[in-house]
Symmetry: D2
Subunit: 407 residues, 4 copies
Amino acid sequence: MNKKKIINDPVYGFISIPSVLVYDLISHPYFQRLRYIKQLGMTHLVYPGALHTRFHHALGAMHLMGLAIEVLRGKGHSISAAEEEAASIAILLHDIGHGPFSHALEHTLMQGVHHEQVSMCLMKQLNETFNGKLATAIDIFTGQYPKQFLHQLISGQLDLDRMDYLNRDSFFTGVSEGVISFDRIIKMFNIAGDALVIEEKGIYSIEKFLIARRLMYWQVYLHKTVIAGEQMLINTLRRAKELASGGSRLFAAPALAHFLENQVGKTEFFESPGHLEKFVQLDDQDIHAAIKVWASHEDPVLSALCRMLTRRELFKVEITGTAPDQERVADLVQRSSAVFGISPAEAGYFVYTNTVENRAYNAAIENVNILMKNNAVIDIAKASDLSNLQSLDRTVTKHILAYPRGI
Amino acid sequence: MNKKKIINDPVYGFISIPSVLVYDLISHPYFQRLRYIKQLGMTHLVYPGALHTRFHHALGAMHLMGLAIEVLRGKGHSISAAEEEAASIAILLHDIGHGPFSHALEHTLMQGVHHEQVSMCLMKQLNETFNGKLATAIDIFTGQYPKQFLHQLISGQLDLDRMDYLNRDSFFTGVSEGVISFDRIIKMFNIAGDALVIEEKGIYSIEKFLIARRLMYWQVYLHKTVIAGEQMLINTLRRAKELASGGSRLFAAPALAHFLENQVGKTEFFESPGHLEKFVQLDDQDIHAAIKVWASHEDPVLSALCRMLTRRELFKVEITGTAPDQERVADLVQRSSAVFGISPAEAGYFVYTNTVENRAYNAAIENVNILMKNNAVIDIAKASDLSNLQSLDRTVTKHILAYPRGI
Amino acid sequence: MNKKKIINDPVYGFISIPSVLVYDLISHPYFQRLRYIKQLGMTHLVYPGALHTRFHHALGAMHLMGLAIEVLRGKGHSISAAEEEAASIAILLHDIGHGPFSHALEHTLMQGVHHEQVSMCLMKQLNETFNGKLATAIDIFTGQYPKQFLHQLISGQLDLDRMDYLNRDSFFTGVSEGVISFDRIIKMFNIAGDALVIEEKGIYSIEKFLIARRLMYWQVYLHKTVIAGEQMLINTLRRAKELASGGSRLFAAPALAHFLENQVGKTEFFESPGHLEKFVQLDDQDIHAAIKVWASHEDPVLSALCRMLTRRELFKVEITGTAPDQERVADLVQRSSAVFGISPAEAGYFVYTNTVENRAYNAAIENVNILMKNNAVIDIAKASDLSNLQSLDRTVTKHILAYPRGI
Amino acid sequence: MNKKKIINDPVYGFISIPSVLVYDLISHPYFQRLRYIKQLGMTHLVYPGALHTRFHHALGAMHLMGLAIEVLRGKGHSISAAEEEAASIAILLHDIGHGPFSHALEHTLMQGVHHEQVSMCLMKQLNETFNGKLATAIDIFTGQYPKQFLHQLISGQLDLDRMDYLNRDSFFTGVSEGVISFDRIIKMFNIAGDALVIEEKGIYSIEKFLIARRLMYWQVYLHKTVIAGEQMLINTLRRAKELASGGSRLFAAPALAHFLENQVGKTEFFESPGHLEKFVQLDDQDIHAAIKVWASHEDPVLSALCRMLTRRELFKVEITGTAPDQERVADLVQRSSAVFGISPAEAGYFVYTNTVENRAYNAAIENVNILMKNNAVIDIAKASDLSNLQSLDRTVTKHILAYPRGI
């Protein structure tokens, strides 16, 4: 079979699969599973086009890796064919450990297990399956490979992961504010010492990239209704686990039932192989299929949450600069309790408070280094005397209050 | 709540919801269900971006209806606000009767029930729910409303349904060959007598539209691997029903179990309300979630099909102009029987023959009428002396042979 | 003749001409002349696609006016058909007074005559030609019409002039950093009191608009090489006028010769009709055609400048934060004098210093008013607690030093 | 100076200049001249965006050459760096011999001199200037280089010249019907024997390409009003030459005057160097600048034509399948003669008949060869049993009748 395939991608036109090994990794069930895990979870409830998956994102990031390496080679930096394949594999697999609904359920199905750790674990398994051919990819992924810039292309301020997800998320949501000039930014890539830098004339593109990322946070990633949907999903799973651990019977595919019925923490997950085996059978659709059934469950909390989710009767969310008034929260809890006929403790599944941060700028800007025309390498915040970048380097924290509409 | 919402759409930018009634219809669970029914079924296995849903398509077609009515009014044709809302509703709901995986499973879950009939049935139910407010929409949908052109905008050679799906399918697959100049075509709409016509200077755009549709058929809708995936899906459900009717226990959500365990024909479906109630709880995800579980089922036919589907180990498909050689088919059946350890009869789930037609041109062209500059209305095939349109007006039939790879 | 034309526009798809009067204005020689005045002057020497004209820009801005009025009407604001036509005309003609190479030669061909004054003058002439039908358009243009928001749509922080030129300039240069979500911004337009405001949820789009504008300034409008080309053009015309006033014979179309041979100040221009009559016969091509001939002129200054311009041997430009060192400038003058065999005074045509400002932010932000959900109207800088907008509200001044390469 | 520049192109994003030699050729005055010769002549009078130049087209075609060579190398065909540079140069310079308004004036300024011959002549001069470094490029251009497929990439049924101009013309006119999937077509390039072929799965893209080309002919290249403008331009120049040869004084830049005052045929042009020297100083702007002045000329024919051109009062054009009635033509001549106060002979400048062909299909289809999966190479018309390509392989001839409006 011809494994040098070309895949159509509405974002970039075509994505070429660079090698047989990459083709075989893409064909592996671990990777195929990502076809059924949406990149943006519940976001499609607000932006109906946002159904793109981690599968497509991983391919897109790999495509950008190919462009970046071509640019760097064109500037005289030596990158071997083996290094190129390893870097392509490392970015292809960087998110392979994500579970259903990605970030949203990361801490609900299991406790204390980060998707990065699962990715690492799956990459090691694949390395065994493929007779050690992923060793360099793993070294690049973990930052142990000598050429640090390869790691930075996968995980850094301007990595190709971000580059692709901003592109792809703005494309599929239709939020054109998030469009970035990824091709121009990549053309400005260079290496100084062993580190990835941006050439001076790319400063404005970087600034635009940072602004676009911030706007995507507020307009998409932290959109009120998206937060409402995700929080309802989390509360639904929390309630289901609570009921299951209390002995209730709940419709669920076996792999999902496993995580409903067992408390799986970090130690168990990584030490007892059965958990991972179940985990890789899960995707978004198991959750959704279960929720539809649970909408008729006898538990009023679970059924109400599921009914609201399937009908898209989402919580009202208020985002404010200061914490919500405690009396108001208590009042909402009480009214929920009355409306749904549940205890005040159970009403906590309906009224919740939280904080969100615009994570786009956590500890950020100082790491974007600019290669000036005089070959000096300086921080973008200093390179850009025009710039208002300093003001972006702070975390904006917002308070969330969510509760059912009409109570 | 403000119900005059704007929805982001990567295809058209923004879609405005034109009225409160339309907003309420979109919010109804029958319509929300379409969020989970992909427009193109298994096509995403070939074109990973093709995850767009019937929900989004229906909104898009409604958006085009708004544009078309604006154009027609601009040319002096009177269309009342009530007619506009009715036409918008009619196109919004035209596909509401689709079940999971749309066309692919239309004749597998039930027998002899067409999705158009289900759409009609659901529209009538909604009409009751909304106190008769959908009466005009239903008349337009069924062609009983006096202004025939409104019906043609929903169902005709150049209807807005096709216009949107060609746009949307080519957008999300990334197959740019399918791009059509929908805005130009709509600007060329006019009415002659009571019929929708195209102004003369739109002839080339129409020709391009017809060509684009044909190309989409061969490159996307009838793509070999898409056919393979759909046929495997159909065979899987057929086998599951066979097993269920034989008393086997199969993991399935209750609504899916209902259709596995019961033979539901047209009469039962429409006369006994329980079937419809179950039907509207189904979507793509129930099927997929079940298939993953069935991959471990004890039946070798079912488990093999499901394993191949989840791993994307799809049948090899040969498309030829003449029927496949019967000896070769018999040989493939025998080898499948041996490889999978099943009876030759069961091997029929793995080796199948079929025919497909490029349906784009069934009985088509004579219905596109052109309004010439001298106000004559003539058939496009005659209007376009340049044109090779006649040659498009025939059905191309191809023979399919599918079988597992590596047998 | 059908005057309800549709014009293809790669930026917006189609532009409709809204009325017969508008069609007739577009057909008038004053407006047709704009076909030959590039929107961005010498910018095509850097961005070869940037050949779009003031003609196309004016049509585009008129198109956006139509969209804006549709949005405002949809929100319940009354705008009559006559007002719509007047606003369309006002924006169509807002730049009709531009001469060849627009801003670059504005103060070289004549002295102290601003293009806005010429626009006003031509609009009054057209008003006479069209029997007073432009009276309301003129009132809107000058801000004397009661509905102030109509004037703001033509000239204000978020006017449709800027909206179109940012769109169009980024489209034709290919500088995707300048892309703005004009459709989203326009959908957020509203009126409070009598003033144009932006609805709260449009804040991020506005912020992106302001950033995009700034980036376009530095990447396009104030691009070093563009500045070099424009300055060489200005110096060329200055020298030509100097020679012409000294009695030299210079090849030139009669209308151009008129401005080379006469010093025309504001008073003469507006009081003596002959000047305007000549002015409206000028466009970019007269200048370019003359420059090619002057490249063989006997004057070494003129011929050198023209030779360099036609061969695109443009000055080297240095942009710095502080004024260039005077000794260095003196040295460059001396070397130019030697290389070209001219006097030090003449060398001033080759070595020049200047300052440029990023004009995008002059006195800007306080004028963008946001309509909050609670109906309060507040300044964007205050509405956006997330925002770093304050830092944009300052003028950045840069020093320019330009001189021939290789001296 | 860094000569490895990147040029922004709205069509492809970025165009890289592949070598120093190419940079120097682009900088040469012969090539810079193409900045002022529009690709589509008078077409901007109908499609105002169509101001793109031969300069930009030549760069775009060179860009596609780079993509094509990358694809062919990726399929194992050996193409040396020197061959790549030569092919890039050959396509960059393929149209360097075009004069003002390209095809329109090709046979008016001079007699019997084809632009291909001028291109060849200029390439030879450049080869001398650059010390023989263009020898291979010239061999590829003339088809004498052994690897025939390189020549086919420059001049053949699917050459990169056509690929770019269809892309670019549809982009800048805004006629989306002309959009082709150039990237997909190029990815389907392969070599069989020594000839360029298309892989089987590219058949539909090729068919779409041929259709798009046909539509562009009728909608753009042979648009009535474009024909009117070009014919008026030709007649204007013919009249100017007639007057000049009769001793009339006409405003014109010296290089233009040279061709007005002298009859230059093929022999003179290529044997006497003075003609070419003048020719390379001409561009569109000399013609336009002169026409504006001639609008006040004392000759009623010349001034009427020029006045109409500058005011865009273009001839009415009728396109018919059969030759226009001779009596009608005679009547139009007589009325023109009366209206303009000129002799019937002179009225021939106002009323003309002609034929145009859709040149897209001259002798076309048999040359597109398809590489089937079984490695056979067959004609596309046979490869595509679905196809209606045969019907495209004929020349459509139309009759033109043009005359002033309102006579």
